[in-house]
Symmetry: D2
Subunit: 319 residues, 4 copies
């Protein structure tokens, strides 16, 4: 079992995540996407724009072209959740081959909480100090006693693969874990979520910090289009359709028409006189006077043209 | 957690394997192979022959067309080895959602053995009675005490996902496990092997007994062509090439020529006078007098013609 | 190659999809979910409710417990898109083993369209009759001529694996294709989408019709929570936050409070006098007079309580 | 579509394989194996020895820790076989997005052969010059005509995704293909085999040459323990057991005893007087006089001790 390496991020009391190696980054995503879409991608001249487009439209295969390999050390109960992500390649420390080391997870008082009444699988609510101390004492008792017994059986020559069966799941284990970026983002999306168990979240967050460095555009796009934002079900959408006043929706579309005009103007500056016709073409319905007033207000931000158009059609569908 | 269902095979002291459902059997293998090979398979008129041919030549995809779903209950340390087979679909009992039950694995005295000195990951050699009793007492002590603490914390309202971290890996867990026949056979090949840990072997053997019933020809072929038999490495082969006298190899080939003749005769009976020419055509070199003596001896068995030819060419390569 | 079987759904001019076998349905999803969540699922007493809950919260593994096996016949260019779904098991008709048959896809005039200018990978706009006839004539010309040459080379004894290399990708091929429900739904989500190529969409739709029969609740939930409804990105969400008037959002939440009250009342009927307090508890802010008016209006529909609560918190986050 | 890059290996008339990137090599295999087996691997002090041990005993996961990414260009019918290896990540040039280029595979006269009568899926036997010329003329005819039609339809504005359906499978396509070493070796084992179609074999061989450079020990071990050497089925083994004279087997074992003695002596040189006892311990049965004669002969080679012991037990099982 490894002690904390210099370049690792410490997780929980004795665990860590360390990026051992990686292959490619944002550049590799773009490179492989351009093979797929050939000349078709020439207009998306900027890497960031292309990566955002791929993420928004769930073109996932280019993200599979980037690979990460981590060295991680975590309690067994965390490893048990982690291993369910089946696309990863894993080499784990084996207690059949090697001896266990006296390293167990003891929860920090801040993370000893009550069972959530709302969420079957969560925690909620501060536990009093006395109960916290009891929890800690119990973790220590079982860890110490089980390791004492394990050591005695081991010295007596009992088969390691059998003796290890009395060790609790807060024992630390260790592995090499390799996965591609698409599946790694999916892992982080699930395990850095507020509903994930705290003890796996710290490992997921640590991996996330490496991803952010190696593939910053991909990371940003994943946040903007998959993790953040919101989804409405068919049922919820139908309620919104009934309840959102048409006037409000038209106002939002009007606003998008302004943003579209500003964005197109920013990409390729045009004459003053061409701006109002451009705005009309984007679906704007303000009079030229109102247009001039709003345009001069300086409040119109520039955005991604494709995305604004997609947004406009979503708003349309709510009407 | 489930008690032993009626139709389950008991494994270890409290575990089991139960076949919940399956899709297809030997017939489904044949059906899908015939789609692939079209008219090309018409000569392999018998299902058993086709299945053996597919297995011998590692045409694995038809075996993927059969699916098995098992309900299993096993200790956590067994589940941890099991889960590494990544093609399976799994639904496991969750200790975040549900309470643990007081069910722990206590090894039978017959399976408490010493660490193998030869095999880093095995057991070997009888342990004396006193040590066995000590092992059993220790398993009981840790199981009882950890469950007592777990129950107390649970009642005090501590989050289940945290309290469970003190339970040892001999605690029983439970899952639904679904896999296709190709990957299931691979699992059984590894886990019913003598080098696998005893505690997972019993589960693998139980699943094997179901496979044998559902797809008997596939099971038989897997034993004959993958599990049993033997493999010589390039290095070993080169030693055999140097050391096996050519005379011995020629005798074996001669013997195969007789078997081939008998097999072809058995498939399509021929006139007495056609037998010696047929034998010569199979590479036989005995004189007609010797042929008649041997042929009349009644010791020549009938085999699969294709396989005998493949065998003959292997022997040739050793010369 | 197979002719259209009796129980198959015809697709395109000569292709089909046929459900060969399946394992489990809605019941199998529920069965495996209950193993995972143990007693924790007891309150979700109804199968439909549980399945909808699992789908809404992306608990995907129970849907992997259902398996489908299809027999399909489609043009090679369709098979080439299809095969990229890597979780499936496939046995395809092999042109190395077997002879090709004279079966080519000829597009129906209704589906001969222009290249879309907007969508790099789509069609758009009616083609005139003359061009349609030309397309059809060309498909026929290349198909006929290539098959003529293929047949001649085949008769001359040229290796099949080589001769087939001149056949165009509108040639029909055929396979057995087996996948689990989770991955099958993902396939249908992508391939029955309006952006998918028409020629694969008909096959996806045919498979969808089988799924609907075998697992109707899962199908319905997939439509409601994954396919239909809408997603707003982080960027779009921030525009909505700026532009949706707080008053409008409060009105929607008010409406949800009424629906919640009605739903809870429907699950467990209460006294008249308890209704207004119940409504207040759900976050309602109308006065008792307004409450009585609205309540008596009979316009309040009953919905899923959990989902309404989730919806309410989404609306809250937009404020 | 890409022209032949400088650093690529040309395959067939217009295709290529190019190693775009790789992560790790023999060192990464060793690194991850040492995490799994901990101190247990300390005795296998040399990387080459450890890699060979892992390969011999089918410990496949460390080989999954090495990743390769290739850029390849090949005919569609080759891509169709290739894509069946499902563990790879792929980004292929899309004929929905981009225009096809006039690049078709024309077989070299040397590889135009007859259909094999023995092997349903192979070629065999020289084709006469006239037929070869005819094959080439036909490939040219169909390629030219189909591309002419494709171009005409393309210019007329017909949707690319439809127009491409008349192109034959000897059209070149192109992709990025990423896989781990374990699965890459499996691919090469199947596709560089004599039974694989010539047109995919050249691509497999090209990838093999890169593997040999990046992970030479792993490549060597794969050849020695998986590709080369030979396997006897249970049936064949039982014939060998009947037919191999016990005397011959004893001679081979005797020879292994000498090799073992020499190997152990080579690892840790011993006194003259200790050699005969060492030889007896390895199972040797020659008299001391015979031992001295043979030992002095200088013909005894040194080998891997573990492997010799395994070999000896295989020979024992044949007795």
């Amino acid at each position: 079992m490894s002690d904390l390496p210099n370049d690792a991020i410490k997780c929980l009391d004795k665990g860590f995540v360390r990026l051992v190696d990686s292959m490619g980054g944002d550049d590799a995503i773009v490179q492989s996407a351009r093979v797929s879409y050939g000349k078709g991608t020439s207009k998306l001249s900027q890497d960031r724009g292309l990566i955002r487009y791929l993420m928004r439209h769930r073109h996932t295969t280019p993200f599979e072209m980037v690979e990460f390999k981590f060295h991680c050390k975590m309690p067994i109960f965390v490893a048990r959740q982690w291993v369910r992500h089946r696309t990863a390649n894993i080499n784990e420390y084996s207690l059949r081959y090697s001896e266990a080391r006296d390293e167990f997870y003891f929860p920090d008082p801040n993370h000893i909480e009550f069972q959530s009444a709302v969420n079957k699988q969560g925690r909620m609510g501060e536990v009093d100090k006395k109960l916290k101390q009891k929890v800690q004492a119990y973790f220590k008792e079982i860890s110490d006693r089980s390791f004492e017994i394990y050591s005695e059986l081991n010295e007596a020559g009992v088969a390691r693969e059998l003796a290890r069966a009395i060790l609790p799941v807060n024992l630390y284990t260790e592995w090499y874990w390799k996965n591609d970026l698409h599946n790694l983002l999916h892992f982080i999306g699930l395990r850095s979520d507020g509903h994930a168990q705290y003890e796996i979240r710290v490992f997921s967050d640590a991996m996330a910090s490496y991803v952010k460095k190696v593939a910053p555009f991909a990371w940003e796009a994943y946040q903007d289009y998959v993790v953040k934002g919101m989804r409405f079900s068919k049922i919820e959408q139908s309620i919104l359709e009934q309840k959102l006043p048409k006037r409000v929706l038209s106002d939002i579309q009007e606003d998008i028409s302004y943003k579209l005009t500003a964005s197109l103007h920013s990409n390729k500056p045009r004459d003053e006189k061409d701006l109002y016709p451009l705005y009309k073409k984007q679906g704007g319905s303000d009079s030229i006077e109102d247009f001039n007033l709003k345009w001069a207000s300086g409040e119109i931000e520039v955005e991604n043209v494709r995305e604004l158009r997609e947004f406009k059609s979503k708003i349309e569908s709510l009407k």
